[in-house]
């Protein structure tokens, strides 16, 4: 099998995070909810999470299912 699951997780959330963050910046007031530009804030959070996952996947280790 040999697919480290941190790759798809990392990639997915980095992508979505970037999408949301950029959209949050461009959309301005439309992305504000209860006083917070939630798209921007949460987009950044997702980006960080995705990045951490990718870092983990990069360093490999025992996370690939045994072949």
């Amino acid at each position: 099998m040999g697919l480290d699951i941190r790759w798809p997780i990392g990639l997915l959330f980095t992508l979505i995070g970037a999408l949301l963050a950029v959209f949050g910046v461009c959309d301005g007031a439309g992305s504000v909810s209860v006083g917070v530009n939630i798209n921007l804030v949460w987009g950044v959070v997702l980006l960080v999470f995705g990045g951490l996952m990718l870092l983990g996947a990069f360093h490999g280790g025992k996370n690939t299912p045994a072949a």
Binding site: M1, G2, L3, I5, P8, I9, L11, L12, F13, L15, I16, L19, L20, F23, G24, D27, G30, S31, V32, S33, V34, G35, V36, I38, N39, W42, G43, V45, L46, F49, K62, N63, P65, A66, A67
Partner: protein, 653 residues
């Protein structure tokens, strides 16, 4: 509710997620070569993955929607499902039962039963499980497709077939591993999709304390919000305290249960019955790479599970608090009402006589088919007569005036209120992700049980592995098709959900008694287990036939809806459905336990001690954990988790 409109970004997020799960299936497909790879992942998955898949498999869309609904109806007491039920059960599974499941090398729960008892018990369990899991799959698919149809305007059939099609593709390619991987993805989607909604909702309500205060006012007079009948009074802590309202008996808490039913019925029988024996979740632990990993899987799962109430139950509580706060512009959504009914009601308001508000309220109520708040209608008619309101406002105020609630709509209504385009896409994708992986979980469990426990055991034993590998693929397709069929079946009956709850209670509750005796008492015999299980199932059916819920009786004391029991006569009427459910489970467990015990004592053992090694506690060598650090041993970790649970229970005491 007006249909939600999705912006391009929402759709992009959804499509990205779908592309990823299809990609995972495709990438894994290359490495899946044997039936063992396809159906049981060849026992190779890392612990944190099996752990997250373990709770994710259980987190279907219905659970997410249902927990928010229960949070609104019952408050923090809903957390008992987690802090009293699930966590202790998961710890028990990890410490005591996994050694037998994993050590016996059984490929499924029914296979363990065959090794421990005999073929009859396996047959009974596999048939019951196969049928139940397909129905569960179909019923939840139906519920979600209906939800999507009503709230997003998506065509029911399209939602059903496209959703199923996506699941079919990635499960067909990568088998159980695909399902497990996407379940982990789904776990993160749920956390990231729901957390902002909870945060924003709390912020809008004014913070946790403000929410608590609002709930305390509601508890003292729930009829003001039409949550309970007029005259109902609870102590202020009814929505915010998990234990104290139980001590006052069924009349003192919104759930309507007593302490014994909660602790024994839910905490022990139902929870242990599900988490310890339902193959849907146990299968994920069995896919771990070694015994240590298998035992750690439920423990790893227990950590996020403990915190989940804050993610899935609190939204319901927030919804009630917000509904009670005027000026927040939020109310728990009313049941779905057709636009044509709203049109008729608008007409009724416009043609209504302001001097006779009662008649107008009655006309409006019958036009909408719901009970309405007479005072609000009177005000609306007066304002209309004064020319202050346009059609749109009339519609909105009619919506606000309905006094019935569709609790299942709570989570979606909160998403609608607080999620701007972008975040909305994330939250909706999370909901859809749980829908798809719920189906994938059921289908992969069905697949393994059907291929190994029914097909290989009774129809085509002794073929080579390639044969079963192909069979597994065929059964996947069949499983999905059958689920779709079950979904259409469920769409024809309103109470499909009630039926499956009942069936689960009948079958799962007694099953745990069978396992307890089987794993810890070597004297339990096959005949005892078989008759005990059969008797437990029959006993619970009878219990259900002779008891019902108080609200199910009309003025003459006759049963209104047979699905809620009592159709053969009413020996007892419970104060609530939860109470009936918990007591039924307790009864089923006790019946099965007693019967298994007695029949086992009366029959001869068919398996010797040697044959039962590794299957029964007293005949299995203790697992060596000396080379593990003391804090990593399952017993110690389990104790730590229980302590954490205790702390949470005390905080919300």
């Amino acid at each position: 509710m007006q249909p939600l409109h999705l912006a391009w970004i929402d759709e992009t997020i959804l499509l990205t997620y779908v592309a990823f799960i299809l990609g995972i299936g495709w990438a894994l497909g290359r490495g899946v070569k044997t039936s063992s790879d396809f159906l049981t992942s060849g026992r190779s998955i890392p612990t944190w993955v099996t752990g997250l898949a373990f709770i994710s498999a259980n987190l279907g869309a219905l659970e997410l929607v249902g927990m928010a609904a229960s949070g609104a109806k019952y408050g923090i007491a809903t957390a008992h499902f987690y802090w009293l039920g699930a966590i202790p059960a998961m710890v028990f599974l990890a410490v005591f039962m996994m050694p037998f499941y994993y050590g016996s090398k059984a490929r499924s729960v029914p296979e363990y039963l065959k090794m421990r008892f005999d073929e009859r018990v396996r047959a009974l369990n596999s048939v019951a499980f196969a049928v139940m899991t397909i129905f569960a799959s179909g019923i939840s698919m139906n519920a979600v497709a209906k939800l999507l149809n009503q709230l997003l305007g998506w065509d029911y059939n399209v939602a059903l077939w496209v959703g199923s099609g996506v699941v079919l593709v990635y499960v067909l390619k990568g088998g159980l591993t695909s399902a497990i991987y996407t379940e982990v993805l789904q776990f993160f989607m749920i956390v990231f999709g729901f957390a902002p909604v909870v945060y924003l909702g709390l912020k809008d309500a004014g913070g946790w304390q403000a929410m608590t205060h609002a709930l305390q006012s509601v508890a003292v007079h729930p009829a003001a919000l039409h949550l309970k009948p007029l005259g109902t009074v609870f102590a202020p802590n009814a929505w915010t305290s998990a234990w104290r309202p139980l001590f006052g008996g069924p009349g003192a808490n919104p759930m309507g249960v007593d302490l014994y039913a909660m602790v024994f019925g839910l905490g022990f029988v139902l929870s242990f019955g599900y988490w310890c024996t339902d193959f849907l979740v146990v299968q994920r632990a069995m896919a771990a790479r070694n015994m240590g990993a298998a035992r750690n899987t439920p423990l790893v799962a227990a950590v996020p599970k403990m915190l989940f109430p804050f993610l899935v139950i609190v939204p319901g509580m927030i919804a009630v608090a917000l509904t009670s706060m005027p000026g927040k512009g939020y109310r728990i959504p009313p049941p779905i009402i057709a636009q044509t009914s709203y049109d008729k009601a608008v007409e009724a308001v416009k043609n209504g006589n302001p001097a006779d508000p009662a008649t107008v309220a009655a006309t409006v109520g019958s036009a909408l088919g719901q009970k309405v708040d007479a005072a609000k209608i009177a005000a609306l008619v007066a304002d209309n007569a004064a020319g202050k309101v346009d059609d749109g406002t009339i519609r909105q105020r009619l919506y606000d005036s309905v006094t019935a609630y569709d609790y299942d709509g709570v989570i979606l209504s909160l998403m609608k209120k607080y999620c701007p385009a972008g975040l909305l896409g994330l939250a909706l994708t999370a909901l859809l992700a749980s829908f798809m992986s719920g189906m994938a979980g059921n289908v992969t469990a069905f697949n393994t049980v059907f291929t190994y426990d029914l097909y290989q055991a009774y129809f085509a034993p002794g073929k080579n592995d390639r044969h079963y590998f192909v069979t597994g693929k065929v059964v996947t397709v069949a499983g999905i098709v059958l689920s779709i069929g079950a979904s259409y079946f469920a769409s024809m009956y309103n109470n499909a959900m009630d039926v499956i709850q009942l069936v689960f209670a009948f079958v799962n509750a007694p099953l745990f008694a069978t396992f307890l005796l089987g794993m810890f008492w070597k004297r339990a015999t096959g005949t005892g287990a078989f008759l005990g299980l059969l008797g437990g199932i029959a006993g619970s059916a009878l219990f259900h036939a002779f008891t019902t819920v108080g609200s199910n009786l009309d003025a003459a004391g006759l049963v209104i809806n047979g699905m809620k029991g009592g159709y053969l006569g009413v020996l007892y009427a419970f104060p609530s459905e939860m109470a009936q459910n918990f007591w039924l489970a307790s009864f089923a467990f006790s019946a099965c336990f007693t019967l298994t015990l007695l029949v086992s004592l009366a029959t001869k053992r068919t398996k010797s001690d040697a044959q039962l090694t590794g299957l029964v506690y007293s005949l299995t060598p203790k697992i060596k954990t000396e080379n593990q650090a003391w804090y990593a041993r399952p017993g110690v970790v389990g104790a730590g988790l229980l302590l954490g649970c205790l702390i949470l229970n005390v905080i919300f005491w």
